[in-house]
């Protein structure tokens, strides 16, 4: 009896360790985080889990560094890529309660797009489906110019082994399709800061993207592609109105890269987009979710906003890859490029 008692006591620290490391903490769950830059607001999904190895977190599907100290202090570090292409971190520090966290953030690292320190906050995410009473869907036709609102532009994503292995072989710039005027496709095209136009006709929406002069058809009255329709980087897109939100699901994709880092998008990927207007109808907002379990442990999320701008015209985009090939030739890198042909698509 004495032995059991003694050994039970010795188990207490171990049990405490298991409890603190394996049981969900009060911070676990999905949060909606918002961050106030000096002239814009960013919004994202923050997911926190307690695991055997400690606390882990994701912002928009990508890994973050997260630490909690003391009773309720929290620190989050998330990487991002600015509009000019430079990679930097946002360090968010603050406190958390059961259903609310807040603090201040600052940018770290050299970036061209400077952000002043500002406030951030997060609340528990509630996925409420609001049924719209509107019988007719809103008019989203017209020309839309990109803003830099909403999007955290999370840079790294949480990759599977296959996704990591791919990335190790990827050579930035030299393997990127659009530098040699090849289609970048979805989802990257949607997230680029170029204007696009939406035209509505019977049974379809047509999206005209300025970047690479791409045309995209969103089928509103059919669910399957025509027989023998080949896969492409624009895929096959079906649209449905859910109240005032346009939901587009795309499949039949070809391999491409998700973003400038070179993370892979497989042929089996699907893309979900949700478009909705601001209350005044002047902004079109979108959430873009990439579902590709072959390459990503968590679905990458991007958010974009455009402003209705009648003055914006879609300019023609002719592309000449000389600016890619000539310097490569001059730098004696052409053989390297040819030797890597099988790794590109």
């Amino acid at each position: 009896m004495n032995w059991i008692f003694k050994n039970k006591l010795s188990l207490i620290p171990i049990l405490l360790l298991i409890y603190t490391n394996c049981m969900p903490s009060e911070i676990d769950g999905i949060w909606r985080i918002s961050l106030q830059d000096s002239n814009r607001t960013l919004i994202g999904d923050l997911e926190i889990e307690t695991t055997e190895s400690g606390l882990i977190g994701y912002l928009e599907g990508g890994p973050i560094d997260i630490k909690i100290d003391g009773e309720n202090s929290i620190e989050i570090i998330a990487d991002s890529r600015d509009v000019r292409g430079f990679i930097f971190n946002r360090r968010m520090t603050g406190t958390f309660e059961e259903n609310f966290m807040s603090g201040t953030y600052q940018q770290e690292g050299a970036a061209a797009q400077r952000e002043e320190p500002g406030p951030w906050s997060a609340v528990r995410y509630e996925n409420k489906v609001v049924e719209s009473m509107i019988a007719e869907h809103p008019d989203i036709t017209g020309t839309w110019a990109a803003t830099q609102e909403l999007d955290f532009r999370k840079y790294t994503m949480s990759l599977t082994d296959k996704g990591e292995n791919w990335l190790e072989t990827y050579m930035p710039y030299y393997d990127q399709p659009d530098v040699r005027c090849t289609s970048i496709g979805l989802p990257a095209l949607i997230t680029y800061s170029f204007p696009f136009e939406i035209i509505e006709s019977e049974g379809r929406l047509t999206m005209l993207y300025e970047y690479q002069s791409k045309v995209r058809r969103i089928w509103m009255e059919k669910d399957e592609p025509s027989e023998f329709m080949p896969p492409s980087r624009m895929g096959f897109s079906v649209g449905k109105w859910e109240g005032s939100t346009l939901v587009i699901k795309t499949n039949l994709l070809e391999k491409t890269i998700r973003d400038f880092r070179g993370e892979l998008v497989s042929e089996n990927a699907t893309i979900e987009e949700r478009y909705f207007l601001s209350d005044d109808g002047q902004n079109l907002n979108a959430i873009i979710i990439l579902h590709d379990a072959e390459n990503y442990k968590k679905a990458p999320i991007r958010r974009r906003q455009w402003v209705r701008n009648k003055a914006t015209e879609i300019f023609p985009y002719s592309c000449d890859p000389d600016s890619f090939y000539i310097p490569m030739y001059q730098e004696n890198k052409m053989q390297m490029y040819i030797d890597r042909s099988e790794l590109r698509f």
Binding site: R84, G85, Q113, Y192, F194, F260, S318, D320, F324, P327
Partner: protein
């Protein structure tokens, strides 16, 4: 005498400049500093996916050095009035931007000052 003016323009770092980078800028250019160059345009590629100029610059030893200037896509520059004929072969310009890594003679353009006193800014439309 034209010389490479390699001035650290930290002030510029604090101005929010938005241009479209459609390839891996981190791999090619350094955001750590901004430099300024003066020289004569040797070649012009005013085409998508990005414009490119070759700039001949005299270095501190009075030797000619060619810098490879990279800019945004034509469609973005054109919206700001930066058209093909604004910078021609033989023009004398002063340009600031982010230099290539490891002393590579490349520059990601932020701003170009023309000999007529006008300025072209490689800035994407935010609206």
């Amino acid at each position: 005498m034209k010389k490479i003016i390699c001035i650290f323009l930290f002030v510029i770092q604090f101005i929010s400049i938005e241009i479209h980078a459609h390839h891996s800028f981190t791999a090619e250019f350094s955001a750590e500093r901004v430099i300024e160059l003066s020289g004569v345009i040797q070649e012009v590629w005013f085409k998508n996916p990005h414009v490119r100029y070759l700039l001949q610059v005299e270095d501190e030893d009075d030797k000619n050095v060619t810098w490879d200037l990279r800019g945004s896509p034509v469609v973005w520059l054109a919206r700001k009035g930066w058209t093909k004929d604004r910078i021609k072969k033989g023009d004398e310009i002063t340009v600031s931007g982010y230099p290539g890594h490891d002393g590579k003679k490349m520059l990601s353009i932020i701003e170009v000052k023309l000999s007529d006193g006008s300025t072209l800014i490689d800035k994407a439309p935010s609206r």
